[in-house]
Amino acid sequence: MIKVMKSTWLLALALMLLLTACSASNNGKQGGQATNAASSGTENDVKPVDDSTEQEIVELDLFVNMSWWPLKDWSGKIPEEITKKTGVKLNIQVAADDKQLPLLIASGDLPDLVYTATDLTRMADPDVSYPLGELIEKYVPDFKISQERIGVNTMPDGNFYTIRNAFSTEQEWIDNPKALPGANGMTLRQDIMEELGNPELNNLEDLISILASVKAKYPDMVPLVWDKDQIGQNLRINFGLKKSNGFVDIDGAARYYLKDENYLDYYLYMNRLYREGYMLAENFTFKDAQQDDQYVLNGQAFAHGAGNADMTNPQLEELGKPFKMMQVTKLLSGKAGIPMGGSGWAGMYITKNNKNPEAAIKFLQYMYSEEGQKLGLYGIEGEDWEWNDAEKYPVMKYDFNNTDIQTQMGAVWWGLIGSSGVNEALQRYNPDSQMTQWGLAAREALEFNPALGLVSTEPDTEEQTIEAQIRNMVTTEELKIYMAASEEEARAQYEALLQKAESLGLAKLEEWATAKYKEYQKNF
């Protein structure tokens, strides 16, 4: 009995201590708030207007579904300016990996806003997100969106849940000759090129012979290193391939991208790069998007697939490296092409958990406006950039490619919430930059086919299951082509890949895609 009494007392004592601690911390918080109130009270006397706007600020939580997103919080002068204009402040949560969003959707724990380029159709569900049309009608009837943009974002249920960025019509591209597509580039070590006597680089064969000379002269060097998410992309452009998913038009029908007649050539070229020792097998095991950059910055690599000389060179200078990278500013093949199909890249969704849909749609209205786009992408007009009226492009007053400056200002990235393809493309134009030369070359290769880009599978449908299974299979089986010991084996592996895709139901998928393609073609 005494023992029981003792333990009860002890438990009570522990509870009391805990409660005292809690209330102490509460007091602390209250104290803090009181001090804040007092200090803003002082400011109140000086600037009463500011205080009143501060009170109206709505805080919304935004989940950015891109683990590589460089801006981790809503700080810097541009987000501050956006908050000033819209009264909305965002609390940013950047995805840890690509599995987080599906989990958030499944558990129903979505924050107020989601910005994503994947799982779009999952987000576009009336149980998950608000249809934008509904919110516009209710809160901002003056919010006008062009019919093309609504068209490409409309879901089978007749609603549109977002307006994706990066979309522009062919006419918009024609009207803006300084708009440069974000084409995947390639950079080379300038000093080594000079040592090799600046050999000609006009086609893909030239590239191979340069890599061969590098390998012979610098056997310890990796001739070509790729960004883990962009393996082969620059070459896909040069081979005129649709990036790495979706469908291509073959004789008027929508066929899976792997059936493009140039795909085999691309695979054989990549296989040759591997067989002749110009790229590492280990490149395919990179888990970190910075691993390739390290090779380049440490001087271990000669060519950098997906490299951007304007971004790498300042980093090399900072590290005190005695060399620079130069951009390949030409298309290396007559086949080159960049498909501009589709409906854009990423979109902002106002979820059903949003605590203030009115503020959210007003925020989106601003971000979609010309003013909002340019503020988000370029910065404050007059201070950070000025419009060159004669040539129609923004002239930046800061080092636009410097990631540190971008992060500090909060520039570029938040503009993508609502920017159009050409507004994004215009910011890339800088007459002095190497990437601009490459961008101008790549512009020549743009191929428009919006109807084809719209063909994409819906979640929880048989077609999506087939496509997902094929994609899953391709990620591993494709490597067998890249790593084949001979050209014959690579060819055989390509055939085997197509056969496996067929066994997973490719014919059915293509039949569905062709029907959709024909349907969409009527709109264009």
């Binding site: 599995k99 499944a106 999952r122 280990e282 095991t285 271990q300 929880d460 299979m473």
Partner: protein, 330 residues
């Protein structure tokens, strides 16, 4: 008042048979201990039994957008997902990898802690014994994420310390593609798991050894038994019970990697497109299908299949052990 309670108690005792009465009395007497057990049972119920209704998904055309309610309202499709998995082009590969990695781990990592515990037990220098033991179980506390990060750096073909060492010693001419060649994955999985967990599991066997009567050793020594004979005739039979229980547990969790676990972590973190031929296992496949592609029903079916195999393994090994060694878990 006292009289009244006495009468009530008397009536109650009349109503209950003698055995039940004594059980009830025992329970009341041990009510605090029972409260602890009840809390534990509640946790098991809430977190292990309650979520089991999710298994229904494996037999339904379930979509995550229908939420938890959808688990009960989705259309019934029977064994559709099981059939789909079994006929998947990589089914054989995934099952072979899962079984091979698991069996290899059982084969190599199960005897290791026993061996280590016996070795520790034979060390006479106390300070060294304690030091070696601490060093051996320390890796257990490093997470697989960190371990795999270290492995990626150490095993890199280009600048990894392991390849530099092998080349420096003249053991190989070219760097060995530890991470990019499928041929190395199984070996890598087994050795790293052994390194990480052998010391930890040795603690259990050491505890069992320390429970043995020292006079047995003295007697054996008097009879002229050497060190190996003492290990063979006293230590090993003395800890046989522990070995059997741990073995049954290891076989039960065989598909997860047995004693050392970590099949999923290793395949997920060290696996890549290059070695997926040997590194893709049931768990990573279910993870990819379920979470990345959002096909929860299909992933549930794959996991359910694995759970069924695990249950068969537990009951099977328990039955065999009962027959052969007379020791069993239940």
């Amino acid at each position: 008042m006292e009289q009244l309670t006495e009468i009530n108690a008397l009536e109650e005792t009349k109503r209950l048979p003698a055995v039940k009465r004594s059980i009830w009395r025992e329970i009341v007497k041990q009510k605090y201990a029972h409260m602890f057990i009840l809390t534990g049972m509640l946790i098991v119920f809430v977190f292990h039994y309650l979520p089991m209704f999710g298994i229904l998904m494996a037999f339904e055309d379930y979509s995550i957008s229908s939420g938890i309610k959808g688990i009960f309202t989705s259309e019934w499709v029977g064994l559709k997902y099981f059939k789909e998995f079994v006929s998947a082009y990589n089914f054989n590969l995934i099952v072979t990898n899962t079984l091979a990695i698991s069996l290899l781990k059982l084969l190599f990592t199960f005897p290791m802690p026993i061996l280590l515990a016996i070795m520790f037990n034979e060390v006479r220098h106390q300070l060294f014994k304690r030091f070696a033991q601490t060093v051996s179980y320390f890796p257990h506390f490093i997470s697989w994420v960190v371990v795999s990060g270290l492995l990626v750096i150490f095993l890199s073909t280009n600048s990894g310390i392991v390849n530099d060492l092998l080349k420096g010693l003249g053991l190989t001419e070219k760097s060995l593609p530890f991470l990019s060649s499928p041929n190395y994955f199984w070996g890598l999985a087994v050795t790293t798991a052994m390194w990480k967990e052998a010391g930890w599991w040795a603690i259990i066997f050491l505890a069992a050894i320390s429970g043995l009567n020292p006079s047995l050793y003295d007697a054996a020594e008097m009879d002229g038994a050497g060190r190996l004979r003492r290990i063979w005739h006293i230590t090993l039979p003395g800890i046989r019970g522990t070995i059997v229980v741990v073995l049954i547990l290891a076989v039960g969790s065989l598909l997860g990697g047995g004693l050392v676990g970590s099949n999923f972590e290793q395949s997920y973190l060290l696996g890549n497109a290059m070695n997926s031929e040997r590194s893709e296992i049931l768990q990573t496949y279910a993870f990819k299908m379920g979470l990345a592609q959002g096909r929860y029903a299909y992933a549930t079916a794959i996991d359910l299949l694995q759970s069924i195999i695990a249950i068969i393994l537990v009951f099977g090994s328990n039955y065999l052990s009962k027959k052969i060694t007379k020791n069993s878990l239940f």
